[in-house]
């Protein structure tokens, strides 16, 4: 479970990226965060695994106070939280399998990592993760030889290899075309359902959000402006979030048709 309590983040330079945010995400929920560019979506997601520290307020993740964690405690927390990135963040020069094995690092002794000698059990877990996103045949391909959609599936597999209870995805489909975006979103949804993984996804397009989310959280200027099921996300809500009415730019399909 994730619980923000009056959480605020001010970046060095004075930008208030989150203001007194209080939300609770239950185990197994599939939540999509929407908002304008600069609304604080990435900040919210990165706060969950401590990549961005809170300036004030409280944040509890899986029973831990994130603001009070030691270095080792933070690594422990991060090992339970898988992360998926807009730019995939794969190591291009190495194999898909090596990239996915990164998800096992918290369970693998350092000397084994340094020598590149991963235990069989961890390789099996990585292979299973690759199987879950149906890309196991590419295990020994270099990441640089994959398409964008394939890369993001490897990104998902890396997160899955952590055997996480939470998955965070920061605009996971922003670099992909519409059909590929749907493929990736379906994998995320299916994994969340099958494995009961709490999933938080940042999305740019509202139609994509309503299509996949159990629950949508709208941010504007670092403040919560909407929190409810996708079905409740009407034109009025949209105006609250985006400060204007819906245009073709805001939905993937209308934009793709242009």
């Amino acid at each position: 479970m994730i619980r923000f309590e009056d959480a605020s983040v001010t970046y060095p330079g004075g930008v208030l990226a989150l203001r007194d945010l209080s939300i609770e995400v239950d185990a197994g929920e599939f939540v999509v965060i929407v908002g304008l560019s600069g609304a604080g979506k990435s900040t919210l997601i990165r706060a969950v695994n401590g990549l961005v520290p809170l300036t004030s307020g409280k944040l509890q993740v899986n029973g831990r106070e994130v603001t009070e964690l030691s270095r080792a405690g933070m690594r422990e927390l991060r090992s339970e939280v898988g992360m998926i990135f807009q730019g995939f963040n794969l190591v291009e020069r190495t194999t898909v399998l090596n990239n996915v094995l990164m998800g096992r690092l918290h369970r693998v002794p350092t000397w084994r990592t340094l020598l590149g000698m991963y235990p069989k059990a961890d390789i099996d877990i990585a292979a299973r993760a690759l199987g879950q996103v149906e890309i196991i045949e590419k295990a020994y391909t270099r990441a640089s030889d994959l398409s964008g959609g394939q890369r993001q599936r490897v990104g998902i597999a890396r997160a899955l290899a952590q055997e996480p209870s939470i998955v965070l995805a920061d605009e996971p489909v922003a670099s992909l075309d519409p059909p590929t975006s749907h493929v990736v979103m379906r994998y995320l949804q299916q994994i969340s359902r099958d494995l009961g993984i709490t999933t938080i996804v940042n999305l740019h397009f509202l139609d994509l959000a309503t299509a996949y989310a159990d629950r949508i959280i709208g941010l504007r200027d670092g403040m919560l402006v909407f929190d409810g099921p996708g079905s409740a996300c009407d034109a009025q809500v949209f105006e609250d979030i985006y400060g204007r009415s819906l245009t073709a730019d805001d939905t993937m399909h209308k934009q793709a048709a242009l």
């Binding site: 794969l90 190591v91 020069r93 990164m102």
Partner: protein
């Protein structure tokens, strides 16, 4: 008057920027410095011509080198020593340079204090030339192969750390973020997210470093730090120029072959 060009008139270029004062001043300073230094070392073209015309046993030796040196048993040992020095110096120095370069980066070493110390150390060893290292260690541990090895170790450390550090400046930070987000520790992050990115370039630097070391090890012997340079110095002292040139040609051949191999290998790495 002018040849008519086809089509429309070329657009006017914006006014040409004037050469900067800095460039003019720099050029003038360079010329002035060359003249001043040439005069102070007593350089004159006349001198070169007169000296070349004179009977000169060094040049004569060059014209009839003693090819027997290539097979000579007594030259083989220092040769092998040169090779050993170059290999060992490269292996030890460049092996240590990898962690040193990694720990000198912001992402590889979050502690600004130790990072500053390491960077300072890198800058100091980089500013000491190979021959000075050799002199330093010859006076510290006496003549022989050991000071040569120590000199090449520090020299390699300096060269490969510098080149590797420059490569580290340009790597993709995405994988680092990804590794940190999985809960990896620092060493694990460096090994899985950073090392694969720089490994080809680093291997190429190690090979390049070996080339330089092979050449450098010839000079090291001149100050008593072992290897082929000792033998060259020996012939020089006795005025045996034919033998000296035979040895130098052989060394040149070896360096040439090693360099060709290294260049080919390095091209395949990057």
């Amino acid at each position: 008057m002018t040849v008519p060009t086809v089509g429309i008139q070329a657009p006017n270029l914006p006014p040409k920027p004037r050469p900067s004062l800095f460039a003019i001043g720099g050029t003038l300073a360079a010329i002035a410095m060359t003249i001043v230094t040439a005069r102070s070392v007593g350089f004159s073209f006349g001198g070169i011509v007169t000296n070349l015309g004179r009977k000169n046993s060094v040049i004569e030796g060059l014209l009839s080198p003693d090819w027997g040196q290539i097979w000579s048993r007594r030259s083989r040992a220092p040769f092998i020593e040169t090779f050993q020095l170059a290999v060992l110096g490269t292996a030890t120095g460049s092996l240590l340079s990898l962690p040193l370069a990694l720990w000198s980066t912001r992402f590889g070493n979050p502690n600004p204090f130790t990072r500053g110390i390491l960077r300072g150390f890198n800058n100091v060893i980089r500013s000491i030339p190979d021959l000075l290292w050799a002199l330093l260690f010859v006076s510290a541990v006496g003549i022989g192969a050991l000071p040569g090895l120590l000199a090449l170790f520090f020299f390699s450390l300096a060269v490969t750390t510098k080149l590797t550090s420059d490569t580290l400046d340009g790597i993709d930070m995405g994988p680092i973020e990804a590794a940190n987000a999985t809960g990896a520790n620092l060493s694990q992050m460096l090994r899985t997210a950073v090392v694969p990115q720089i490994l080809p370039a680093y291997s190429s630097f190690v090979l390049y470093n070996f080339e330089i070391n092979l050449r450098a090890s010839a000079v090291l012997g001149l100050v008593g730090a072992g290897g082929i340079g000792n033998r060259i110095e020996f012939f020089r002292g006795r005025g045996e120029w034919e033998e000296l040139w035979g040895l130098v040609f052989m060394f040149f051949l070896v360096v040439f072959v090693v360099e060709r191999i290294s260049v080919t290998l390095r091209r395949r790495l990057i």
